[in-house]
Amino acid sequence: MARAMMRRLVFGLIAVTGVAVLAFLLEFVVPGDPARAIAPRAQSAAVLANIRAQLHLNQPLVVQFASYFGNLLHGDLGMSYVQRQPVAALIGPRLADTGALALAGVLAEVLIGGTLGVLAARHDRVRAAVGAVNLVLLAVPVFVLGLVLLLVFGYQLGLAPVAGGAGPAQIVLPALTLGLIGAPWYAQIVADQVQEALASNWVRTAVGKGLRDGYILRRHVLRNVLSPVLTMAGMDLGSYLSGVVTVEVVFVWPGIGLLAYNALQNLDRPVVMGTVIVGAVAVVAFNLLADLARMLADPRAREEA
């Protein structure tokens, strides 16, 4: 098991490096001059050249590449062009906020999706209704759903703050948005798995043992459903940590997504690179964690590894 995890860790490192290199090269393909973005009103070529020299943008690509990745090896993500602060200092606090949102969002989708899935698996009539709800949720774009929630719960009912910012009250609506968007996938997979389990011989054994339905569901069935849900939740957590741009923009949630969005608009290359790398690391790390959790939940997965 430890060896399998080590192998996955190595593959993960290779993946992160690949993503970082690709992102670095892509930034040079994207049209636009960071110097102009920093000083949009500067007229003289000398000023722009000066800015470029300060940012080492006048050096050959190979040199810039070497210096960036050299610094990266030392844990230095560089300085933001626009905000004149270390990228790490910009990302750090936002990572915590995005982490909170990602966690709340994944929790919401697992709870909503899991509940719908279990209900759908056990009651034929609910299954049709859940199918319809799934379809609607899958069709609605994220920003529309976010705005509708904001409109209904924020403005109309006044139940949630609309001002933006990070906090326990502000997290509810964006987390709910993430939860509702992700729930159909979980509902589908949980419904399928629970249905399969309920038709299995081992559930018949459990019924034969005179156990109550709720007990069988909690102690027997859900444990078997756990491992695919954990895999999905791990992947979601990783990808949300790399920034949930739309949701953060709609709710003005000061997370990585918002930072990346602004950095892209300003051609703030070090910040873009920083968010990409942090995102890639998050995806890899949470996939690893999900694998680990799956092995804890399912003895057969443990042995396969």
Binding site: N201, W202, R204, T205, V207, K209, L211, E303
Partner: protein, 345 residues
């Protein structure tokens, strides 16, 4: 080991029928398992033997419609309120499935799966239930029960898994155990171990046993009483010695001859075979469903389905057969002509 008179019958099934939509899988089957008695229910694929056994245990899917009357140790099973029956079920009967791998939860240690019976039905605490589970595993002769209790089903051999199933079935010492071909998937030497174990446990626990099988040899080994099913009906039933000594129904004769021929026929010579195949929808034709395969069939067999009746002039009480032309008592079973080429649709 005949049933003792003091206790109510472990199982009394009267006119049990099972329908899946329009298909009648079991038709008016009646069966009694005396207290502590072992009854073998013999039949091939599609004979309805598993449907009957699961109907008795009320373990059929909801799509199945069960009619008739079933009592386990005096408790009316089919009429009982579902919730109340659920609470009592584990005390009334234990079940052993054919495929223990599929019948055990793959992600729970086997000790927990045995222990929860004690936790739920005997109100034991976690530690107490674990100890009881280990004792139950030890009672089915599993060495190092505490260590085995921590293992998952896939980590055990087939024989060990089946022992775990037996331990669960007997945990609460129910008056009836229903076993659905529990040794079919096992190696012969493991089957022999399980048969020996079951015999020992029967003596110790005193449960009645309904053992479903297609293997005549297993019947010879462990049953006191046998019932042969064909096309959804019980076609012959009686004390096991009477059935083996003087089978009355040609299908029973065929099964016994097949077995005997396998043991003592000349090597390389054609095996004795019952020609043909069971009918796909036995309930649709008016006559005896075995008629197309029967060496003794006459016109009456095509016209009327024979009822299950006591055999006249036989010493053994309770020996019954559903045949218009039962073999006369004492006559050696006459082999049907073994046709080498027979179409099976």
């Amino acid at each position: 080991m005949p049933g003792d008179a003091g206790r109510p019958a472990a199982l009394m099934a009267r006119d049990v029928s099972v329908r899946y939509g329009p298909v009648r899988a079991v038709r008016e089957a009646s069966l009694t398992v005396g207290a502590g008695q072992a009854v073998a229910l013999i039949g091939e694929t599609g004979s309805g033997k598993s449907s009957l056994a699961f109907a008795v245990a009320r373990l059929l899917p909801r799509s199945a419609r069960v009619t008739g009357r079933v009592e386990i140790a005096g408790t009316d099973v089919l009429a009982a309120d579902w919730r109340r029956f659920r609470g009592e079920r584990a005390r009334l009967l234990g079940c052993v499935a054919q495929d223990a791998m599929a019948a055990l939860n793959p992600v729970l240690p086997v000790g927990r799966q045995v222990g929860e019976l004690f936790a739920v039905h005997a109100g034991m605490g976690r530690r107490q239930a674990a100890a009881a589970a280990s004792a139950a595993l030890a009672s089915v002769r599993i060495d190092h029960p505490e260590a085995v209790a921590r293992l998952y089903p896939h980590q055990l051999s087939g024989g060990m898994r089946q022992r775990v199933m037996v331990a669960m079935a007997l945990a609460l010492r129910p008056p009836l155990v229903v076993a659905d071909e529990p040794t079919t998937a096992l190696d012969v030497s493991t089957q022999a171990e399980i048969l020996g174990l079951v015999a020992e446990l029967r003596e110790r626990v005193g449960s009645g046993l309904l053992w479903i099988t297609h293997d005549i040899g297993v019947v010879a080994e462990l049953a006191d009483w046998a019932a042969v099913m064909y096309a959804g009906r019980i076609v012959e039933t009686g004390p096991v010695e009477a059935i083996f000594d003087a089978p009355a129904h040609p299908y029973t004769e065929g099964l016994l001859l097949t077995r005997r021929d396998l043991r003592s026929g000349a090597p390389g010579s054609p095996l004795f075979q019952i020609p043909g195949a069971p009918p796909a929808r036995p309930d649709e034709a008016p006559g005896c469903p075995f008629m197309p395969r029967c060496p003794r069939a006459t016109a009456v067999c095509a016209a009327r389905e024979p009822p299950l009746l006591p055999l006249a002039g036989r010493g053994e009480a309770g020996h019954q057969a559903a045949c218009h032309h039962p073999a006369p008592p004492g006559a050696p079973p006459a082999p049907a002509p073994a046709r080498a080429r027979t179409a099976a649709p």
